[in-house]
């Protein structure tokens, strides 16, 4: 399903995959957050995989969006796991982060499944 610049796909029984598109506008996150959370609750999801494969750079604004989404998801008991973070994005993020992010990270869905 498409919600204002993100594509949400159900994968497995409890998991959803969020793929941001180029149309994603994070300047007004309030409505977008509500729509995503509504969808997650409707689908009874427990985990949300956020695909960062297309994000070569994550700037503070985009990071703030990820943090907001993560905190909101935690409020409805959904774990958010960022996958496919690019080396360039990780490199950039690590230079300005002062604390660990509130979201989890994994190489990809498969590696997470192997761990669990």
């Amino acid at each position: 399903m498409n919600i204002g610049g993100v594509h949400l796909t159900r994968i497995g029984s409890d998991d959803m995959l969020l793929e941001p598109t180029r149309a994603l506008d994070i300047s007004d996150t309030g409505t977008l957050l509500e729509s995503i959370l509504e969808c997650l609750q409707r689908e009874k999801s427990l985990r949300l995989y956020y695909d960062l494969a297309e994000m070569a750079v994550i700037d503070p604004v985009y990071f703030a969006w990820l943090e907001n989404l993560s905190r909101a998801c935690r409020a409805i008991n959904v774990r958010i796991i960022c996958i496919h973070m690019q080396p360039t994005a990780a490199f950039g993020l690590a230079t300005f982060l002062h604390a660990a992010p509130s979201f989890e990270t994994a190489l990809d869905m498969q590696s997470l499944r192997e761990e669990s």
Partner: protein, 287 residues
């Protein structure tokens, strides 16, 4: 604008032509004396050097303005000396010896003039000025070559050192090890992070064991860089395991208020590997 050939140039050319055998012989003898023992230049090479040098010198004096550094004749002489000095450096020769040899070449010209009583004091003064100017420029060219070669060597050494100082090894499927030796400054951290993150992505590594046994001192900058690397690894979705933290490093980190709460640490590299294997569900047992 091109100048006409001066009597000074003509006098010098004439002297060179008259005493070419004598000068050439002295240059070769001195060359053999300086470079012969060290095998920096063979006897044939010294002879070739002597002939070519005298030819280029005559061509320079024959040009309209020998002191114009942009003239082809001057450029040719500069290049000639540059190439010779490069060759000497590559073969392990000392630049000091070559510069002294150049001073000897200059002295050869001056001494050959002294033998000619037809050269007036004014001409002699002008010739000395001309020769010293030309040879000073040539020595600068040699010095320039020396610096360039040294810089190239230092660059190559630094590149090699960087590569060998950050050997990222995939010790098991999905497990990378990175022994860090020495100090972590900003430029080195950037290099390590860049190659490490790319390796995590390409090898799909799930655990990175960073061994800091070789790090003897830690200040706020070094510890900040270590935390930065750990965070970048975690952001990629891999687990960072920090091993080999010496007691004095641990103490220093505590006094610097560095919190390793989110970092998996183990005493030794071996323990770190065991932890990585445990994370991956790998069991290593005796056959």
């Amino acid at each position: 604008m091109a100048k006409n050939k001066t009597p000074v140039n003509l006098t010098l050319i004439e002297q060179l032509k008259l005493q070419v055998g004598n000068i050439s012989g002295r240059i070769e003898a001195q060359g053999r004396n300086v470079f012969g023992d060290s095998n920096v230049m063979s006897t044939d090479e010294i002879t070739d050097f002597s002939i070519e040098f005298l030819e280029l010198m005559v061509a320079l004096l024959d040009s309209d303005d020998p002191l114009d550094h942009h003239r082809p004749a001057f450029r040719a002489l500069q290049t000639f000396f540059g190439n010779i000095s490069k060759q000497i450096l590559v073969r392990g020769g000392r630049m000091e010896d070559f510069v002294r040899y150049m001073q000897f070449l200059q002295r050869c010209f001056i001494e050959s003039l002294g033998a000619d009583e037809h050269v007036s004091p004014e001409d002699m003064r002008a010739i000395l000025l001309l020769l010293s100017s030309v040879f000073n420029e040539l020595m600068l060219a040699v010095f320039q070559t020396y610096l360039e070669e040294k810089e190239r060597t230092i660059d190559a050494q630094q590149r090699e050192l960087r590569e060998t100082s950050t050997p990222i090894t995939e010790i098991w499927d999905g497990v990378l090890t990175l022994p860090i030796i020495g100090t972590l400054d900003s430029s080195r951290t950037l290099l390590i992070m860049e190659s490490l993150l790319n390796r995590i992505s390409s090898e799909r590594a799930r655990a990175v064991v960073m061994d800091v046994t070789g790090v003897h001192t830690v200040d706020s900058q070094v510890s900040h860089h270590m935390i930065q690397m750990v965070r970048a690894i975690q952001l990629m979705g891999a687990t960072a395991i920090l091993t080999g933290i010496r007691p004095e490093i641990a103490r220093a980190m505590t006094s610097l208020n560095i919190d390793l709460g989110n970092v998996t640490t183990r005493a030794t590299l071996s323990d770190g590997l065991k932890e990585a294997f445990r994370l991956l569900g790998v069991v290593v047992s005796k056959a």
